[in-house]
Symmetry: C2
Subunit: 344 residues, 2 copies
């Protein structure tokens, strides 16, 4: 089958690889109908060391179940499913507590030993726990929004939950990428009154406004902090969604948090330490978040997608076939596209 | 009047200073009946640069109101009051939200421009908001425990609240100083099932056990993390109370937290950054806490002290007069005493 393989920074190729196949009795095999390129795929795109064997790419998918292992109970061939970026058994104590990204059997698609989703097919471990059956056909018009339930919409929600967004709260979203934009949707959905998008790309900011952002801050660093304080009576916001992962973004996030506020971080941290320890401490600002338990959020978010109350699929502003994936990486890296959908 | 003044690292003296007096109409003047030396006083005791004028020391007190400004409503001369380490107006939005340490008029006793509590008397700004009237006489046997409501018991509670301690939870307390020991009391009071004290001083550990600690871990660093995991089914604890403030303590705290767990930090951070960003992120571990809103906790904790359900005053294991204060610093620094009470 054909799959996306990265061999080093900037070197993404579509290769012929061995067909995905059932290995464990708890596996399912899915034929990928939609996948996408993630902002986090750009980290290895910038800095991956050259590799002869390469790394399979992609961790977000919707697909049709083609085959199941002997122990799979809840799925059958022909089912259309959404595949979260992490697999999880669905039965361990962490899965039961709603944190499948800490499952005792957790694994992340695209890591060594797993298939990547930017491909014709994927072997899905712990299929019963991992996959969520969708009640629509494989070419439904809602496909882009449903696809975001595999990562960015759930991740935006996780940032909002970790930042303790609630009715009447003021919120800042650091980062106007796909996750930040989904964070705006999530914040509004949770009842936030004021939502400040912090970013500087006109097209993304326009979308953020349509999703519910009430204010825009284009500045960075100390200037941005001053601007947010100016918009919030001098004290900052109750909740900050840190959707970038760089130290400067976290420093800004802590800087714009109101005393007693919370920062929810979902951008994969690119540093060993969290900056601004003293401001966070003296402001009693909480820093939480991590890999989003998107599998646990699907049930909550799905009705809003199906009934059109939220449209996170609008962040997918370009569609390519498998052959177009390498250029999709380039387009995202050049900020030509917010997020690229793949139809293998 | 006589007051404690620090002139440099290790140089604590009792000096004659101008009498404390009412300055603002919202002030009260209290005659100090009990004060104490704080673990945080040891930071300047180790590293303060030499100063000709020196710094007034002490921020925890019980005293008798001697005089009040024209605008003070809720107090009268003769009232016995507990004085939290921070003053606050009691009326701003942060005070109303239960975070008086973020009061728009907040100040900390012993900082420049304020009196210190290791003295015969103290001018208390915003007396109505700051002071809490006690329903006992000034030499009541409960005085040590009541005195801890000015800082360490409220701070231990804050660590537990920030660490999301609740019924049935597993808890680790990093640090066996007075705050850590009060953290054990707070964790038990909030219903924790397992409380692991992490420290290595026999006397303190014995007290921690009496306060409700169920397990002891004397190791440090990676060994400590392994031991706590071994005591908790391999995963770590739900809640960690970080009561030290050094980077190694925070690294340990994050290391012993279970995925989805929370660290409540109340030790004043001695570093610019929070370590272990990646383990915290990948474990979805929350880091919260800061200067404890002890004024807001007095009402909650007082009945338990008055009715003898908690005895935080047992951390005060030595009593000195004002002249004994310099040796009290030495005794705490040498770990001869857990915490020293001062009777001016």
């Amino acid at each position: 089958m054909r799959a996306t393989v990265m061999f080093g920074a900037g070197d993404v190729r579509i290769e012929d690889v061995p067909d995905a196949a059932i290995v464990e009795p708890t596996d399912a095999l899915i034929r990928v109908t939609r996948a996408c390129i993630c902002g986090s795929d750009l980290h290895p795109y910038h800095q991956m060391e050259r590799s002869e064997t390469g790394t399979r790419m992609g961790h977000e998918a919707i697909g049709v179940v083609e085959d199941i292992g002997a122990d799979v109970q809840s799925l059958k061939p022909g089912d259309l499913v959404v595949m979260p970026f992490a697999y999880s058994d669905g039965t361990c104590e962490f899965c039961r507590e709603g944190l499948p990204t800490a499952c005792v059997h957790v694994g992340f698609f695209g890591n060594p030993g797993t298939d990547g989703a930017q491909a014709e097919a994927v072997r899905v471990p712990y299929a019963d726990g991992t996959l969520f059956k969708l009640p629509v056909g494989e070419d439904d018009a809602l496909m882009p929004s449903l696809l975001t339930l595999s990562d960015v919409m759930g991740t935006g929600r996780h940032a909002a939950v970790a930042a303790k967004v609630g009715p009447g709260k003021s919120v800042a979203v650091v980062g106007d990428g796909a996750v930040g934009l989904c964070g705006v949707i999530a914040a509004r959905r949770l009842g936030a009154e004021q939502i400040i998008i912090m970013g500087r790309h006109d097209d993304r900011i326009a979308l953020a406004r349509e999703f519910g952002a009430t204010d825009v801050v284009r500045e960075r660093g100390e200037e941005a902090v001053e601007r947010v304080r100016g918009l919030t009576g001098g004290f900052g916001v109750h909740s900050v969604l840190e959707c970038v992962g760089y130290a400067q973004a976290m420093e800004t996030a802590i800087g714009v948090a109101r005393p007693g506020g919370a920062v929810g971080r979902v951008g994969v941290p690119q540093d060993e330490t969290i900056p601004a320890s003293l401001p966070a401490f003296f402001g009693n600002v909480t820093v939480g978040g991590g890999p989003a338990p998107v599998r646990a959020y699907v049930e909550e978010l799905l009705p809003d997608v199906l009934e059109g109350r939220i449209e996170p699929g609008r962040v997918l502003d370009r569609t390519v076939g498998l052959d177009g994936v390498p250029d999709g990486y380039r387009a995202m890296d050049d900020r030509e596209a917010i997020k690229v959908m793949v139809r293998p």
